[in-house]
Symmetry: C2
Subunit: 681 residues, 2 copies
């Protein structure tokens, strides 16, 4: 009725006329305003807090009188005195419309609130978890009309929350009768709203109104580390983050050696499965303890991982992933339970695994796609998740291509003579003076350059122990910039480079970075074999990206996103000098941090994102580098530093690459690995 008072909601701008006496929550629901409630308007949960505004609102064409809302009632008074309420706030289920009014819904009262994120360019996360809480009042049993407690609970949930066809886990059914009676026929249910794989389910029933939050885990199951974020499923807040080494490491550092282990040892795959699940359980205990949360209150979990980890975690022998045609047992997303996977959480806990893109492009790459959303990008973006395998995505709104490329472990400091993991004492930044050819560097644990005052003292406790992944990239790039190494990747003799730091080391030369032997430390050099390892790794990465550019029909990309913890530490300039990534403006090369973990978190907090990434993955064009002849060609070209055919015009406008050639007519060295194709792993 037009004579009824007008209610205007902000920030949505939704408006409508409601009879005097209508609770604000009711008005909001009828207008489809996003106003939360767990208790269904019973003045218990306080999720529906709103802020009425008073006075003239020309914009809305309304004047709000001081008595536009009902007076405080007993429920509101009790709530405020017991639990407190921000000044100006009212409970939307108690305050009723008395006249025209403007109602602001604060962010924390919105169901689909946005999760606050630190990265400016980060994709926003809108809360819409798969598991939600619902408070219901259940009819008591009646001998005249006998029915089961579950059936009456179902009726209540259907009538009060419009959720139908609810299933229940047996473990939850076993506790139902006690909970209903303890709560005097008022209970709070945690409900998974279901999807294409399974019907909506009652996962947990607590007596009365359940005050405590419920939680979910976003797990990034990597070959080396398992990292988990414990999130509040109502606020979206990360309440604890923790990580452990993947206990499978004792069966092999890299994935391929673990796959080999499963092939060579009967029951090996089962051992690896038990190891990773055991590690996971230890991690979950640790993170729950850290946050002071009961593991049984963790009701949802999302996992991302590469295909081999995916199979081993599921208890599927990864044999087929070790050989062409690299067939996954399943590529679609999986909906499982903690119990099925032997995870020591609530037995009802739902486990969601993101889809795999292809045999070498796993759920972790799908999570990166979810986080970085190349499919929603206006400009053409190249997303590279740098690790032992590089997963590469290229695309924009039109289409997205994906492939993986076997970079090997060199970028992690492995198979490098002085290489090491990123840890205190590792060289992570390098500059080489183009005149003196002397290096200065920084080690993890200190902000000082090695030629600055106080450096020795600063590194006294850690020492200078080796070169980490990002350090070796800078090192080789600086050697190329300083004319110590040539385009084909040969280190020059002292007479050609003009520095004694180039020292004969067998049939090739090495470059001396640091000699700590006088103080009992290591002698850190870069050997020509190290250069070869980096050449192979970067050539694999570049040629994967270049192949996708071919398939897309472009010669350049608008921007580059480096994902992965390692990506966060790569210097864009040095990466481009190496020819590891395509030529691009440096300010268009950004780091996304642990995008796979972020993708897991998005899928945990927003169930629509699951359907979305499943569709995105179906739409992605998968390129298998192993069967693309041009990949080999790109690989050979990319073995050069930066590249034997690509012009890199933007790079050349920033730096000058010395035109040196140290090949004295013979072959470079016995290990002509630059052309050797690296095995997967």
């Amino acid at each position: 009725m037009q004579n009824d008072p007008l209610v205007v909601f902000t920030p949505s701008g939704k408006r409508g006329h409601f009879p005097v006496g209508t609770p604000i929550l009711t008005a909001a629901r009828q207008l489809g305003v996003d106003l939360d409630s767990v208790c269904g308007g019973r003045g218990i949960c306080s999720k529906c807090q709103i802020t009425p505004s008073y006075g003239e609102f020309a914009k809305h064409g309304v004047t709000v009188a001081p008595d536009a809302l009902s007076e405080w009632n007993a429920v509101e008074e009790r709530y405020k005195s017991k639990r407190g309420l921000i000044d100006g706030r009212r409970l939307g289920c108690q305050a009723t419309v008395q006249g025209d009014v403007v109602i602001d819904v604060p962010p924390e009262s919105q169901v689909h609130k946005q999760v606050v994120r630190k990265r400016a360019e980060a994709r926003e996360i809108i809360m819409n978890p798969a598991v939600k809480l619902f408070y219901v009042v259940v009819a008591e049993p009646d001998m005249h009309d006998p029915s089961g407690d579950l059936e009456r609970l179902r009726m209540a949930l259907e009538a009060q929350w419009q959720i139908s066809n609810l299933q229940i886990d047996l473990t939850t059914l076993q506790t139902l009768q006690t909970a209903l009676r303890k709560g005097q026929w008022k209970v709070t249910c945690a409900i998974h709203l279901g999807n294409h794989a399974f019907r909506p389910r009652i996962m947990q029933v607590w007596p009365g109104f359940h005050e405590e939050p419920i939680f979910g885990l976003a797990v990034d199951l990597g070959s080396t580390t398992i990292a988990a974020h414990l999130c509040d499923l109502q606020s979206g807040e990360v309440v604890a983050s923790s990580g452990i080494m993947n206990p499978q490491i004792r069966f092999g550092e890299d994935l391929m050696s673990r796959v080999s282990y499963t092939m060579m040892n009967a029951g090996g795959a089962a051992e690896l499965t038990a190891a990773v699940r055991g590690g996971m359980n230890a991690l979950f205990s640790q993170i729950a303890a850290e946050a002071g949360v009961a593991k049984t209150d963790i009701l949802d979990a999302v996992f991302v991982c590469n295909p081999v980890m995916h199979h081993l975690f599921l208890g599927i022998d990864p044999f087929e992933l070790g050989q062409a045609p690299f067939a996954l047992a399943t590529s679609d997303a999986l909906n499982l339970t903690a119990a099925e996977l032997g995870l020591d959480l609530n037995p009802s806990t739902r486990v969601y695994l993101l889809p795999c893109i292809a045999g070498h492009v796993g759920a972790d790459a799908a999570a990166v796609a979810l986080s970085e959303a190349p499919d929603k990008s206006e400009d053409l973006v190249l997303v590279v998740d740098v690790g032992t395998n590089a997963e590469i995505l290229l695309g924009n709104r039109e289409k997205v291509l994906a492939c993986s490329s076997p970079t090997g472990p060199a970028f992690e400091g492995a198979q490098i003579s002085s290489g090491q993991r990123a840890a205190p004492g590792a060289i992570e930044r390098v500059e080489i003076d183009p005149v003196t050819k002397a290096p200065r560097f920084k080690v993890i644990g200190s902000d000082l350059w090695s030629n600055e005052d106080g450096f020795s003292e600063a590194v006294a406790s850690t020492g200078i122990t080796g070169i980490c992944g990002s350090g070796i990239i800078e090192m080789v790039a600086e050697m190329r910039l300083a004319g110590i190494v040539d385009g084909p990747g040969l280190i020059g003799a002292p007479e050609l480079t003009g520095t004694d730091r180039c020292i004969l080391d067998g049939r090739t030369y090495s470059y001396l970075v640091w000699d700590g032997t006088a103080n009992g430390g290591p002698r850190i050099t870069v050997t020509n074999r190290d250069i070869r390892e980096i050449q192979m790794a970067k050539a694999a990465l570049y040629s994967g990206a270049r192949l996708l550019m071919d398939k897309f029909g472009v010669d350049k990309v608008d921007r580059i996103v480096l994902a992965g913890a390692f990506g966060a530490h790569i210097s864009p300039k040095h990466a481009m000098v190496l020819g590891m990534i395509p030529d691009a403006p440096l300010d268009k090369v950004t780091s996304a941090g642990n995008a796979a973990g972020t993708g897991a978190r998005i899928a945990l907090l927003n169930q629509d994102a699951r359907a979305e990434i499943e569709q995105t993955v179906r739409d992605i064009h998968k390129i298998e580098t192993a069967i693309e002849p041009r990949f080999q060609e790109h690989f050979v070209n990319a073995s050069n530093i930066p590249n034997s055919v690509e012009p890199f015009p933007i790079l050349n406008s920033i730096v000058t690459l010395p035109d040196v050639n140290f090949n004295q007519g013979g072959s470079s060295d016995g290990d002509s690995g630059g052309r050797r194709r690296r095995r997967r792993g």
Copy 2:
């Protein structure tokens, strides 16, 4: 096209024109003729065998030429030479239409074939199991278009069998890749077609064409015994039947003492759950071994049981069932897995529990309703499942009422001084000479009456050990007919009954049936307390039935069905003399045998029957005897033998009940139990 040959199928009568060259299986499918196929028309499974008929068919208006079907092809020849084929049969997927033809589909080639049953009046069972086999040819993995093996299997099942949105159990996924490769991309899948509770699921994948049948279990979980039928899910045949004592008996003979055990002992309910599940596993091992079937080939199971067993089997504390308002944790049907229930079958095995009707009327009563189908009866039928609790159904097409009544264990020979279980040596049939008042009887294990020649020799090995449940009913009824016991239930003194077999036994008389003490055997008597126990039991049963008749608004029923193993042995005449069942023509009182077990078998073999009984149970009017004042009144009247107010005109037209009264003015005995309400159990 009308010029195309005409194909007429019998017995369905379906007909249509099909182009020359159309396989018979294709024609059948297009017409909706029920012709089986597991291999999808590849000439492997031979399920689509048909019999062409030749010559003149005036009825169909068609003449079938000798060349109406294609000649035998290589596939058919090979099948016939290897596996044999009944003369005149062809493979429907190989034989093609060449001219007008009449095709008979033999019963074993029908998917929805009728299961042969022994009982003439038995409800027919049409095969339509929830789990079926499907043979598929799956696309091999392709590096150019990478997808998971599961996804290609799903596509194959969708394209070849039109089954979509298939889920898979993790345990099955773990074996998928091996099966696909071993079968060279041809596999047989066992698929559960899903229902309102869960999506269709791939339960098992075998390499190639799976020749062996798959199986299901129909389990009748009783308080005393657990009985199971192992059924072939394609033919419907019962391949083995077996039973064991319910191991819970060590916690209490009757249900109420088991419920008491759970109340008095912490963890008692869990002990009872473990006991019954353990017993079940032993039974399944036994029955599988007996049939020579692998337990992993058992893919579906249906359970029926009373509410207390239902809860204990599920691991739900039966506490609430022991007290008003007798609330079930859940009354709806349940869809679970063997794994969830700790059953040692295939981990994927689906478990279906029929719905419970009310707190005292369980899934076993629902199974009786499914088997005896009172809701489909034209005439008004009373169905009584006689056990420790009697479950009673009364109804016809219009409506069905249900209640339970606490008969106690007297009908099973318990709480009777000379009572025993039905076993060799137990008296099961009795006649008492109305003149001499001497009994003659038969014992289990011999067909001779006790006064016939050779009886002593026949029972020499078993002895005469006691009276079983059906024996005690005949005994008391015969005592009433012979004037040894009066209407109120008093045994007369020798001077009033004229026989020395009536002997003073404390303050009342007992009737001597057999004195075996001279040969070291027992002295078998019927005490007045035994009469009281039977009076209470039969009064409970009758008053439950009578209450339903009140509620239905009738004074008589058209027919009576006695269900339960015990019901099979009750003599209708004696039951009526006792006043245990309402007055009815004797030929209208029939036995349905183990109707609960039959109902379980129906639900196992026909998934539509599950939906049907779920609806029937929702529609049944549940009557709780505990809160019906008239139940008490009926109970008091029914304590008399046969009844103090009901006329029983049909009974009185068959027998003459002596008009005796042995009450000598005092009260009968201290235990005036006839009016005592028995506790549930």
